[in-house]
């Protein structure tokens, strides 16, 4: 029970050399310099595995599925060596009473020392019975489990903002967890789902440094949600040059031009997709030809069609160029796009120009 990461890793046959290499990779994946390697190693040598209770509310389990896709660290190493995933409906061997007993045991044994990870959110209509857990409303189980937690992680858009079940008219009154949990630090890791390596990095960071990462005003770790996808997009030069995809599978699409006119929400979406990329860095939505749908943003389901062009981005005067090009090209693609261009010219204005802090 009082074992440290290091002891556990050593006992599992991992060499000191591999351990230090692991610490270096961790530091690198967090964007930290080599000087942090020693600190990470030291932290891991002196701390026991922190228990994690992972609860599921109204959700689709995409966050769990994403988590197990993590390439560095591997999900199996996270679960076997870095934390103690004592409760997770999706993976645990036990069920029913035996499962319920674990929550009570961890709450008592590790009072104030476990992390609560929440996937999904509680519905508040119908006395909470749109999500029933052990015969009771999920929201009650959530509040009880949060009460003795050290910190809370809100996985994904569901726990952070409400996501799809909270889209208008939100029939169940699905509610983000920070609206029902009080007095606990909550780290929001939005996205539908979040990127696997972002999820494991946030967990690793918290376990390693024994603190929650620096958050922006919306409660998101700055290190991954501090910049817009557009800011770091490899297709950005095409945006700046006024080279746009005008229709699916047109010549511009085959050349990898900017998807702004196809409704890409990269310019207003704060996430690490264009830098960290997905599934071990294989690709990300824009690279695979579809615009960003903005899935890490609050209320992204209710901001018009995913194919509506953003009408008011304003930074460095670039949009004027984009819209001018848009209006010129519109005749080629048809009346509907021309209408968009006209509307956007009228509506053009400041939507946002600052970073996540001022959002």
């Amino acid at each position: 029970m009082t074992e440290t990461f290091y002891e556990v890793m050593r006992r599992q046959g991992i060499t000191r050399r591999s351990f230090i290499k692991f610490c270096s990779l961790t530091a690198a994946s967090l964007g930290l310099g080599p000087s942090y390697v020693g600190r990470i190693a030291n932290a891991m040598e002196t701390k026991p595995r922190t228990p994690v209770i992972w609860l599921h509310g109204l959700e689709c389990t995409c966050c769990s599925e994403s988590f197990i896709r993590s390439a560095h660290p591997l999900a199996k190493d996270v679960v076997l060596s870095m934390l103690s995933l004592d409760y997770d409906d999706t993976l645990m061997a036990a069920a029913g009473h035996q499962a319920e007993a674990i929550i009570a045991e961890i709450k008592a044994k590790y009072k104030g020392n476990y992390i609560l990870a929440v996937e999904g959110n509680p519905p508040l209509n119908e006395d909470g019975m749109f999500c029933i857990h052990g015969g009771r409303p999920f929201v009650e189980v959530l509040k009880e489990t949060a009460a003795d937690a050290k910190a809370v992680i809100a996985w994904g858009a569901c726990a952070s903002w409400g996501c799809v079940q909270a889209a208008k008219p939100n029939p169940t009154r699905a509610t983000p967890i920070d609206k029902v949990i009080s007095g606990k630090p909550i780290v929001k890791v939005p996205g539908c789902p979040p990127i696997a390596e972002v999820m494991t990095a946030v967990v690793t960071y918290m376990l390693t440094f024994d603190r929650i990462p620096e958050l922006d005003r919306q409660g998101r770790p700055k290190m991954f949600y501090g910049q817009r996808i557009h800011d770091k997009c490899y297709r950005r030069p095409h945006f700046d040059a006024g080279q746009f995809v005008e229709a699916w599978d047109d010549e511009a699409a085959r050349k990898g031009y900017c998807l702004y006119k196809m409704g890409c929400k990269g310019p207003t979406t704060y996430n690490a997709c264009s830098t960290t990329r997905w599934n071990d860095g294989v690709s990300f939505p824009i690279q695979s030809g579809h615009g960003c749908i903005g899935c890490s943003e609050d209320g992204f389901w209710d901001k018009g069609s995913f194919y509506d062009r953003l009408t008011g981005i304003n930074q460095f005067g670039i949009e004027a160029n984009a819209d001018k090009v848009g209006a010129t090209a519109a005749g080629v693609v048809g009346a509907a796009v021309a209408a968009h261009a006209a509307v956007s010219a009228l509506k053009r204005g400041r939507l946002e120009q600052s970073d996540g802090d001022n959002k």
Partner: protein
Amino acid sequence: MAYETQGFKLDNSGKRVVVDPVCRIEGHLRVEVNLDSSNVIRNAVSTGTMWRGLEVILKGRDPRDAWAFTERICGVCTGTHALTSVRAVEDALAIQIPENANSIRNIMQLTLQVHDHLVHFYHLHALDWVDVVSALSADPKKTSELAQSISNWPLSSPGYFRDLQNRLKKFVESGQLGPFMNGYWGNPAYKLPPEANLMAVAHYLEALDFQKEIVKIHTIFGGKNPHPNWLVGGVPCAINLDGTGAVGAVNMERLNLVKSIIDRSIEFTEQVYIPDLIAIAKFYKGWLYGGGLSSKSVMSYGDIPDKANDYSAGNLLLPRGAIINGDLGKVHDVDLKDPEQIQEFVTHSWYKYPDETKGLHPWDGVTEPNFVLGPNTKGTKTNIQELDESGKYSWIKSPRWRGNAMEVGPLARYIIGYAQKKPEFKEPVEALLKELDAPVQALFSTLGRTAARGLECQWAAHKMSYFFDKLMANLKAGDLSTANVDKWEPATWPKATKGAGFTEAPRGALGHWVKIQDGKIDNYQCVVPTTWNGSPRDPKGQIGAFEASLMDTPLAKADQPLEILRTLHSFDPCLACSTHVMAPDGQEMTKVRVR
């Protein structure tokens, strides 16, 4: 109270056992059973315990966006709802997709089948058959001999298993058991020798590493996984093999990566999954409970169109049809648009119909919430101890095909393919039965369901290869097209139209129905696999597939629901998919249902 239905004698007079939550599934499920004095299940009650409301939310939105909403019905079977949705919208708008798009969509859907089946077997289901703690007492040398006797998979040396066992030992000794805490270790229902358990634990971890590779195919074509991107009219990824900017599209390097993943998927399935399945099945072939409805009534819509845009049964590589009354000699045709075939009932669901003795076709569905508990419920509304199945008891509706409760899923598909005498399905089944020295009746069981899923995983991995070759041949012929944008703009659409789309999700038959009015969604409905399998009783008292499968199964220990979990898990339940929608203020939300 006791009565007979579908060949089962239901009796709820014995000891009641409640399992809530049922873990290692997607979503929230509760099950209650009654045991007789010999601990045999004589009554089963399955309850969907969550509801989200996506169909209500879809009303009034752009049909081209519907795939993204419905994709979020489920992150485990990610993509299959999106594909069903774009097919429904394309059906409504009469959009023809390019051949390349059909091949890429099939590769993505088959990727899901392979991934989902593999993860289900090792990470959601294996612990029902594999005793992790028993693995600690295995002899690594004998484990190596066992592994090498069933497969050429290279990770099989005594040293490999010894290291793994040491890692496991130290993990257990730490006292922090993580996901293995409070498992049913040592239960006599576990039948594997320690060596088989150790081998299975090794492959549990290897499969956890490998599954993240399979989904990279989704990432290449759809940008991410879970929840890749799709497109009405084709696929969003353009292809560029020669020109400037090919690095911004699907090019030779990307295609090579796809090919490499397909090859490795075939290898892992054939060298690890299938041999493990056979090895485990050999020790459990005496445990043939859990057949439920599989020997009586099964259904499949079919999927994987060989040529683009032809959804007739003859062009679908996964079989289509319905079998009722256990008559394998007659496979009925299934039509999603026939109002007499698919109907949903709510007698025992938390909804209200004007006349609850009748079922309604998805086009005419009514969803009015009615969260009331039966008179014999124990506990309170917000603290339910025992449900009363004579009243309403689930957020899942009861779909029926021509009045019959049906089982859907890999076993249903294989039974239908077998009945249709399709060699691709019949021959592997016969080979497996021969290998296990088991009669054909053994197919209709929990184990049969688990085995069919494995065979289908292997089938799907090879079909990925087939469609990759087909894609390459088409590219070689000079066709690079991936999307048809003729009807992209809503101005080109009819004022009012409707369509239906279907797929075979990993868990079974999935249908979406859409009505479009003035360019917006007027009505959207889904009937999903776990709605079929997890359905509560209907007005005639007929039980659903989960309930039927638990009947007459003995429990080794009444306070450990190991056998219940084993059989429920064999369906791979997906509850986020199955639960229906209600109106925001408790009012009737006509023709909108689910999730």
